[in-house]
Symmetry: C2
């Protein structure tokens, strides 16, 4: 079995040899499955092709994952875990909501630019692939889509409470803008339209600056604190 | 053979019976192929499933379209023709560039809202499906993507020349915004997130108004002509 790209943490503290090997095999299979799904779509993910890619039996994959739908859902879950570790967790340690918002957004661009997955952001890919296909995979995609929108919205509201973002900034409009810029930058990056991708990054930065209390002028610099 | 939804014009003025029947069959097959591709993706399009859906032989489809890649390209071409007839042609008759721009953008939202295709806008779907898959289909997708961006850019520049859109409006930034809002509204509409889709429409309107010479205030009303 080939080793994966190590995006999924290996099992820790597992002393039962068989369970440890099972967890390791799951991580390697998921690692490969994420790459396949990111390029060929989640519907392009088959137990047979994964088995032949990795040189293991189809039976082994079925035992570990169940049927194709279950494999698709688990691959999506794994991709979201990778995304969380790369983008969300580092942003959450930032000391202010505005800095968290900036880090979430710029972290997303870094993650696509670095091709953590060869096909870019798997969430936006899955949103497109399952937009017209109701079922368990679409339900899961929708759950993650809503969670990402909610995280951005909450962070913007927190930044309003903290006095960093204007109280009159419509939260949903800013969330819409940020996610729209991401969706389009994702396809632009992969299609080799680097200019459009970079424009997406610049416009994301500008959209946040525009919403800031201190930057009606769009300069991105806070005025000095007033003293009375 | 079942009849299609009539989105493709039937052949006119063809007197040779065999050629006329061939053209009619092509139209019916393409009509079905566009629906399939719009829901299951262009990769979900197979000669076999089309044949069984329409109750015709695989051989007939192969004679008319060639291999799977050729079928995908011709289905994409047909979808773009439908889009042109529904959205681009009606916009081009508008008397001013600004009105053409508005009509192109609102026409796009109407076209998705009316579900001309069950999976929404096929161009944005194809952009996503082929973003990481180089080949003839991706080349074609890229050609249409660039053409749409170029049409919007040209219309904005014409509106600047006509004094309708501010000369200092960055053309690429406005094109980026409009296409980003479309991409995200497309998936929102199909996922049943009507609120987000309508927000996309509202923000598209606002983005154009913001760029207008006469509307720095965002009111969308031209000041009365000055008389000296």
């Amino acid at each position: 079995m080939k080793t994966g790209r190590g995006r999924i943490a290996p099992p820790e503290g597992e002393t039962d040899g068989r369970r440890r090997r099972g967890a390791k095999a799951r991580a390697i299979i998921l690692d490969r499955a994420m790459d396949v799904a990111s390029v060929s779509g989640f519907e392009g993910l088959t137990v047979g092709s994964l088995a032949s890619d990795l040189g293991i039996s189809k039976g082994n994959i079925t035992v570990l994952f169940g049927d194709k739908k279950a494999l698709q859902v688990k691959t999506l879950d794994a991709a979201v875990e990778v995304f969380s570790a790369k983008v969300i967790t580092p942003a959450l340690v930032e000391p202010t909501p505005l800095r968290r918002l900036r880090r979430l957004c710029h972290g997303w661009f870094d993650y696509v630019e670095q091709r953590v997955f060869p096909g870019g952001c798997l969430m936006y890919a899955a949103i497109n692939e399952y937009r017209a296909r109701p079922g368990v995979v679409q339900d899961r995609v929708n759950k993650y889509r809503e969670a990402w929108k909610a995280l951005l919205a909450r962070t913007i509201r927190d930044a309003q409470t903290a006095g960093e973002i204007r109280a009159d900034q419509d939260v949903q409009q800013l969330v819409f803008k940020l996610t729209a810029f991401q969706a389009t930058s994702n396809t632009a990056a992969l299609l080799g339209d680097v200019k459009y991708f970079l424009l997406g990054r610049t416009m994301t930065k500008a959209a946040i600056i525009e919403a800031e209390v201190a930057n009606r002028s769009g300069l991105g610099v806070k005025p000095p604190a007033r003293r009375k």
